[in-house]
Symmetry: C2
């Protein structure tokens, strides 16, 4: 996996390329995305930034995550019954295991998706840009907690 620093560099380069100004808030948001090994939602990102920027607003976080997403440098993982979750440390589509109880998201390794992808393009006539493969269920911890 690319290092957090590499990811951050890449994001800031893309911001420059696209003539976005490198404000401290924007950089802080990019850093949180690049460094996160979990899959934070907007509010979590906001809370991680607040210690360094006590006056930052939620709107700024929304705006900048959207900017970075529009450049394709962060992926949104939408899970039913909760706001968007974001993954900025890797950009290749890969499967997730989502716990429906505690909302934990675990990254899985991609598996022969390419063959599948080609056959979908052929069958549907779609030009496929990305995909998602997510498994839903209960993680080990929640299985135990439920019994107790």
């Amino acid at each position: 996996m690319e290092s957090s620093e590499d990811r951050l560099c890449r994001i800031t380069n893309r911001l420059r390329e696209n003539s976005y100004k490198l404000t401290p808030q924007r950089l802080a948001i990019a850093r949180v995305l690049a460094e996160s090994r979990d899959h934070p939602d907007i509010e979590t990102i906001y809370n991680r930034i607040k210690p360094g920027f006590p006056r930052i607003s939620l709107a700024t976080v929304y705006r900048n995550v959207m900017v970075i997403k529009s450049m394709g440098e962060v992926m949104e993982i939408g899970i039913p019954g909760s706001g968007g979750r974001y993954e900025g440390n890797r950009l290749d589509p890969h499967p997730h295991a989502v716990c429906e109880r505690c909302k934990t998201i675990i990254d899985l390794e991609p598996d022969g998706m390419t063959g599948l992808l080609e056959s979908v393009q052929r069958e549907t006539g779609f030009e496929i840009t990305t995909h998602r493969l997510d498994f839903f269920g209960l993680c080990e911890k929640c299985r135990k907690d439920k019994k107790a």
Copy 2:
């Protein structure tokens, strides 16, 4: 594929089993779900019912889709940047091709997912209840429209 009538029967039976009253509005919502070959959102369901029930409220549609979903008789397809979409005519998880421009959703046939599923359970310790595999891109029509 199960016929719409079979699907509707199954849903009404499950409603009875769970002691839900069979109100005309509830039945109308179940029928729309059972008959839809597309993937309507709440408002679309509402609009399809309105001709027969001009005074039905959006809240009733929300409530009943939720009831039917809680019995596992309709699947929710969440796509980023739009409200929930619902699929009531088939219950087996299967892949979709989603057009990011016009939001059309096309059903695909499931493909050797079971092997993949087992290895995920083994690797993560999750108890997997369902999954989703969705491909995003541009449908043929939107590809042409974009060029024009």
